[in-house]
Amino acid sequence: MPPYISIGGYSDPPRITYFSVEADSGELIALVGGPGSGKSNLIKSIAGIRSTGSGSIRIMGARPASLRAREKAVFIFQNSNFAPDLAVKNQLERRIALILGVPVGSIQRDVAVWCEEMELTDAAAQIPGQMNRSQLQMLSLAPLALTSPFVAVLDEPMANLSSLMVSSALEIIVSMLEKTSVLVLVQNKSPLVKRADRVVNLP
């Protein structure tokens, strides 16, 4: 069985040089780096939406751009997780249905219940421009809570969250760890650094 995530000799000069890490099921690994350290580029390379300069990246043994890799992983970016002109709740429904491979109608109730639990029902009905960054970032975590991916890669998932939402987000991430390998790209002060099984500094 290949590792859930495997990064070997990844370089993104001048920010990252020869970086390697492997993660398996149930592991929460924090990749720590300051602003401009190449975290956002790294998640894009892991997601296969940016070419990898050198080194190799594999998700469950598959190349990141392949459909096989993307079927097993959920990526949460720091920004731009939603189209600006569409209601966030509807986008979440369609995305979660896509990840699970089920009709949209079958997950609408789950999304509604989750939004209610997070006290974001009203916010979710709006378009991204009408809500604050904290609400938007919390809503972007819905695919993590409502799907069970093998791999989750998150870029600064708590950077914009209000203090009230930080514990909810932490709970969502920790609750996934039974079967998921979680890679978080964060700054040193993130609460996820304390909770991580391993902390790796980006070179």
Binding site: A47, N81, D85, A97
Partner: protein, 241 residues
């Protein structure tokens, strides 16, 4: 997996049905009415020559096609550019979607919406004016649909190549040049006819019988070529650093 080929098509349709995108097509009926009125006026005063009743119907169909081509081309440039250049679109490619559908989905969505508007416009013209006896109405409708498809393909090409505004300006210029080269009074160097897509000539020749089949063929080839080129540029865009 369900929906991975149709995700972008559905997202695009939902976006395109917003007022911002569908609203400009509402300009079509008053613009068409004005053009038909202006042509009747000019014809009655002997400026454009006398049109027979059946030629007026054909002309009205071509007017509808030309106006729709203009609006569809501009809106396509804006839509494709806005979508393919946006961060959310790029990030959404991390979803388990067929990445090729990121090109074909929006393209087919725009083409579907524009085709519906074309059917409504042409249907209204055909219903309102007498059926032309000498002309094959289905052939005219089929030919007048070609510039509309061309506009969407050009929109995809320019949308992927440049900004929405720059693309729209280029498209409008090209369309107007194409239209001008089709006017009977135009006296232009021969090479221009090889460079400018024959969107005007297909119209003016469409007023004769048999209609401009060669021009229709050229326009289909041009649409196909820019579409293939756009798809190629989209692939390159996916691999960029």
């Amino acid at each position: 997996m369900k929906g991975r080929n149709t995700y972008y098509f559905r997202e695009s349709i939902i976006l395109l049905l917003k007022t911002k995108w569908v609203g400009p097509y509402l300009l079509l009926p008053p613009m068409l009415a004005f053009m038909v009125y202006a042509e009747s006026y000019l014809s009655a005063h002997g400026i454009t020559g006398i049109f027979t009743l059946e030629q007026r119907t054909v002309l009205a169909i071509w007017n509808g096609s030309l106006l729709l081509t203009l609006i569809a081309g501009i809106k396509s440039c804006m839509f494709f550019s806005g979508m393919w250049e946006s961060s959310w679109f790029r990030n959404s490619l991390a979803l388990p979607v067929n990445r090729s559908s990121g090109f074909w989905g929006p393209y087919l969505a725009v083409l579907s919406v524009v085709s519906v508007i074309f059917i409504l416009t042409t249907g209204a013209v055909v219903a309102a004016l007498p059926e032309p006896g000498r002309f094959n109405i289905f052939q005219i409708i089929a030919e007048s649909y070609i510039p509309v498809v061309w506009a969407v393909s050009m929109g995809a090409f320019l949308g992927i190549l440049t900004t929405g505004i720059a693309g729209s300006m280029f498209f409008t210029t090209l369309l107007l040049l194409g239209f001008l080269t089709g006017l009977p009074i135009a006296r232009l160097p021969e090479w221009i006819y090889a460079v400018i897509p024959p969107v005007g000539r297909i119209m003016t020749l469409g007023l004769q019988y048999p209609q401009g089949l060669i021009q229709a063929g050229i326009l289909i080839l041009h649409s196909t070529a820019v579409l293939i080129l756009s798809r190629f540029l989209y692939s390159i865009g996916l691999k960029r650093k």
